[in-house]
Symmetry: C2
Subunit: 265 residues, 2 copies
């Protein structure tokens, strides 16, 4: 499974401060630390800290590129900032994100093609987030069509069925694992699935417990990727164990150690 | 979800010793402790410790009955020991267990009817444990037929799709959640599902992590009951959180405390 490390995001205080003070070391340490903990890609989000987000994104990407060639997920809603990030990061990057709205797909799918990037696509349209898995599948199908029209390969499409916080949208939570199963049936080869994990526990009392429990449910449903904090070792243990039980990796007694040795190589 | 506490079993050293020395206190403490931790029923197994298992089962059940009226799962392969246990425990007990073999079903289904007991039925037949979920469904269907023929209500049937250890039967593990989903479709109302959890981690290095991760996967698939050690608080936290995320209990900030307050009432 692809773990996309969430920590290089201006919404975290340490990163906001580092961006403002142009302190490369904090960012580079977070890049190295997340990769060593099992991340295969790194999310990059300038947050609200930067006065001008375009050079801020470019600077942040270049700072990370000094220490790793790992794929970067350029995390912004602004197309111009996205393009600056993709240019600086190079081919194999991830667009994070587009919704299923035609106007956005019409801009970001061609951009994915032009920059040889994958795309995270949220199952959100003009009416917002659908109530159930069926509504998510409908939007996912529109995303799959847009990808085909633009010549973007299915394995480069990451559909995110949108996790809502358990404390405000409890009945919607179980729709996500169902949706992950549904999305895998939409085409052959199927698009991939991804979740932004930490949203599930926003405002709750037991954030880490809820995060890792929901992650197990999603991985068991066939999840391909997740944006999460790989520095949470208990969460990574739960994820690695679920993949083992789903027969994705071969059993050995110290499978936790084996996984970490192979992923941080 | 029904938690059946596994600790009163002669395979555990403390219990074997208590049975041999007729030390009621150890057993009664385990009964109270498991119920307080969230168990709704208690498994009772004399193990190999007793020279004559029939009076041993009767004595063990009577010892527990001095401190609680909770349902007991009489855990033995011997019909005569089962009957002694059911008599001593009273109506509402659980037969643990029968397989899907006709000869065993022909004895234990009428016994369930006669003693107003539920029955745990393993999806095992003359050929052993099936390789996949489809094979398990076939045996489960035979179990459902046998229950109908004997007038045992579906909610009193607990079908166990048989968990094999992850270290020796890794590819079989993921068949169990699939099987849990399948079994719920066999009749209306459906039979219930149960697993004997700790088997998943036999001989492995990270027993508790594997136990609780697999439990999340099974509960997310719709599991109705599990035989497990409720004194493992991290496992209970994972189970309670999964039920919350599956919308089985209403969210409140301290849902762990709320669950425990209501279950140990």
């Amino acid at each position: 499974m692809l773990v996309i490390g969430e920590r290089i995001n201006g919404m975290f205080k340490d990163v906001a401060k580092a961006i403002q003070e142009q302190d490369k070391k904090v960012v580079q340490e977070l890049a190295r630390g997340q990769l060593a903990a099992g991340a295969g890609a790194l999310d990059v989000n300038t947050g609200a800290a930067a006065a001008d987000p375009r050079p801020a994104m470019q600077g942040l990407v270049e700072t990370i590129r000094e220490v790793t060639d790992a794929p970067l997920a350029i995390d912004t809603t602004k197309p111009a900032v996205m393009e600056a990030g993709l240019k600086a990061a190079g081919p194999g990057s991830i667009i994070n994100s587009t919704t299923g709205q035609q106007a956005r797909l019409a801009v970001l799918m061609p951009m994915a093609k032009a920059y040889d990037a994958s795309v995270i696509c949220l199952t959100i349209d003009e009416k917002g987030v659908p109530r159930d898995a069926a509504g998510r599948a409908e939007i996912a199908l529109r995303i799959v069509s847009a990808a085909m029209e633009n010549g973007v390969d299915m394995p480069d499409i990451y559909i995110d069925p949108v996790v809502l916080p358990a404390n405000v949208a409890q009945p919607a939570v179980k729709e996500v694992p169902t949706s992950i199963r549904d999305i895998r049936l939409l085409s052959e080869p199927p698009p991939r699935t991804v979740v932004g994990l930490s949203n599930i526990s926003q405002g709750t009392m037991y954030r880490r417990l809820i995060n890792r429990t929901f992650l197990v449910m999603a991985v068991a449903a066939g999840l391909d990727a997740a944006i999460l904090d790989p520095l949470d070792a208990e969460m990574m243990d739960a994820m690695i164990t679920t993949e083992l039980l789903m027969n994705k990796n071969v059993y050995c007694d110290d499978y936790l150690k084996a996984y970490r040795a192979s992923s941080s190589g």
